[in-house]
């Protein structure tokens, strides 16, 4: 495992969620669930992040923001769609201002189901994401970038 693999940082963006999933993400960071034990720290700066955690569905106004944040995260990166809203639009998919899940704008690596998502499911998703991150990193290494 490379050094960054031991301490992946996470960037969270709320696309248009109801907050339910967001507060569960925060709960997962706090002492009871404690994803920090995997070395994960919540950062506010995309340039420092390895894992992009998105909640909520996409609409016209936030899709640029989402794309922008994604582009600012250095390779290799993993995207986690958290909650059914982020996965598919969820209960709001018929709303006039919802254009669909996060994968309509940026590629998603791991989908975490739930409405709202449970912290346990989120932890499983993050652990999966770490695996994907390792694979991507290995691919970058073999590609001779270093």
């Amino acid at each position: 495992m490379s050094s960054a693999g031991k301490s992946p940082w996470l960037l969270h963006y709320n696309a248009s969620s109801c907050n339910g999933c967001d507060i569960e993400i925060l709960a997962a960071l706090t002492p009871l669930y404690d994803v920090e034990r995997f070395g994960i720290i919540n950062t506010g700066n995309p340039a420092h992040a390895d894992i992009f955690v998105v909640t909520g569905s996409v609409n016209e106004q936030n899709k640029e923001v989402l794309k922008n944040l994604y582009d600012q995260i250095p390779e290799p990166k993993v995207v986690l769609a958290v909650g059914i809203c982020a996965s598919s639009g969820g209960v709001f998919r018929d709303c006039y201002n919802v254009s669909g899940g996060v994968d309509t704008i940026i590629p998603v690596d791991v989908y975490v189901p739930g409405c709202s998502v449970r912290p346990e499911a989120l932890i499983e998703g993050v652990v999966k994401a770490l695996g994907v991150l390792e694979e991507k990193r290995a691919a970058v290494d073999n590609g001779g970038l270093r």
Partner: protein, 360 residues
């Protein structure tokens, strides 16, 4: 001497903001002259779905207006439909709704206190508040099955009953929770650094609060006695309580009001448990809503209004929500004028903005 005016953008993605809101801050030297909000990053258009979802299904959507005040939204919506259809909800159900509503307030206030501590860089206090919040969520999960989205309200009552044994156990557990909250709020109310960053910051005078229509803890921290619970909806008519107010009119006062409301909620839950009536928790519902109705509740952030109109079919014809955060945005703009740029993040937080609710 005054400097040149500059516009500094704040948000939509910002380290202190869990949710996106954007402010254009017009600054002169280091002072904010004007703050211009722009919203719409999390707008979904949920109200428009009423014509495609039956009123009984819409309860779930109403609950997802906001994940923090989820329970209060569902109960306010049900209360509206029940008002339209003239349904008499059993007393035990109104007591249970009141209890869950107060648990929601506890978890919401603890959530805010934690996030606020985090925004000021006081991480251990953040963890402490959220640790206590987990005990509240445990009670919610044990009684409703859900941590943040409970899905327990329905038109005509509630879906689950809580046994009396469980309720008396809850009484005891609340004492422990209360002791922990006591320790925590001591820090919030007397810590030197927190005080330095709150006292005299984000001032909203009483008459300004009144004129701008502030609601909830923002209004009460400016000395206004404003609390929908005093109207006696649900079981609040049987409960003795007094709205918590403070007269500091600043960020510290808003923090103080929320800290004190924690203990008020615990007290209300104790009264609910003591007075819990026996009987059914729901009544069968027949027919469709017709006419119009305003349903009001006191959410953790202030008064919420659901407006419903039906025409005798299964679908409502109109549904509108006015949430406390939107009502408090004019007050926020007033608080920011004249503030120092470095104080903006925590002043924004002191209104406890809930954007998910505001934009739906």
């Amino acid at each position: 001497m005054t400097g040149k005016r500059t516009v500094v953008p704040f948000g939509p993605q910002h380290p202190v903001l869990p949710e996106p809101i954007h402010l254009d801050l017009v600054i002169e030297d280091e002072h904010v002259v004007e703050a211009i909000p722009s919203i719409g990053y999390v707008h979904r258009g949920l109200e428009s779905l009423v014509d495609r979802r039956e009123y009984s299904d819409f309860v779930y959507l109403a609950e997802r207006i906001c994940g923090i005040c989820s329970f209060t939204h569902s109960s306010t919506f049900c209360q509206g439909v029940e008002g339209l259809m003239g349904i008499e909800v059993p007393a035990r159900a109104t007591y249970l709704r009141t209890m869950w509503g107060e648990y929601s307030r506890l978890h919401s206030h603890l959530l805010w206190l934690g996030l606020f501590a985090d925004a000021l860089g006081f991480e251990s206090l953040f963890y402490n508040a959220w640790k206590i919040r987990e005990s509240i969520l445990n009670e919610l999960e044990a009684t409703t099955g859900g941590r943040v989205i409970q899905g327990v309200c329905k038109v005509g009552g509630v879906r689950r009953d809580v046994t009396n044994e469980f309720l008396s156990g809850m009484d005891k557990r609340l004492d422990d929770i209360e002791a922990e909250m006591q320790e925590m709020s001591k820090v919030f109310l007397s810590d030197y650094t927190l005080k330095k960053r709150l006292v005299g910051k984000g001032v909203l005078k009483t008459d300004a609060a009144y004129n701008l229509g502030a609601v909830g803890p923002v209004a009460r921290a400016s000395g206004l006695v404003e609390d929908v619970r005093t109207s006696g909806y649900l079981a609040y008519g049987d409960i003795s309580f007094k709205p918590v107010t403070a007269d500091g009119c600043d960020g510290y006062a808003r923090c103080e009001v929320r800290c004190k409301e924690l203990f008020q909620s615990v007290d209300i839950i104790h009264q609910i448990i003591a007075g819990m009536p026996e009987g059914d928790v729901s009544v069968p519902v027949k027919g469709n809503p017709d006419g119009e109705f305003f349903s009001r509740s006191e959410q953790p952030r202030g008064e919420v209004i659901h407006y419903l109109r039906g025409n005798g079919t299964k679908n409502l014809t109109q549904f509108r929500v006015r949430t406390p955060t939107l009502t408090n945005v004019p007050s926020l703009v007033a608080m920011l004028a004249g503030a120092e740029l470095a104080d903006v993040p925590q002043i924004v937080l002191t209104i406890d903005p809930c954007i998910g609710c505001m934009e739906r």
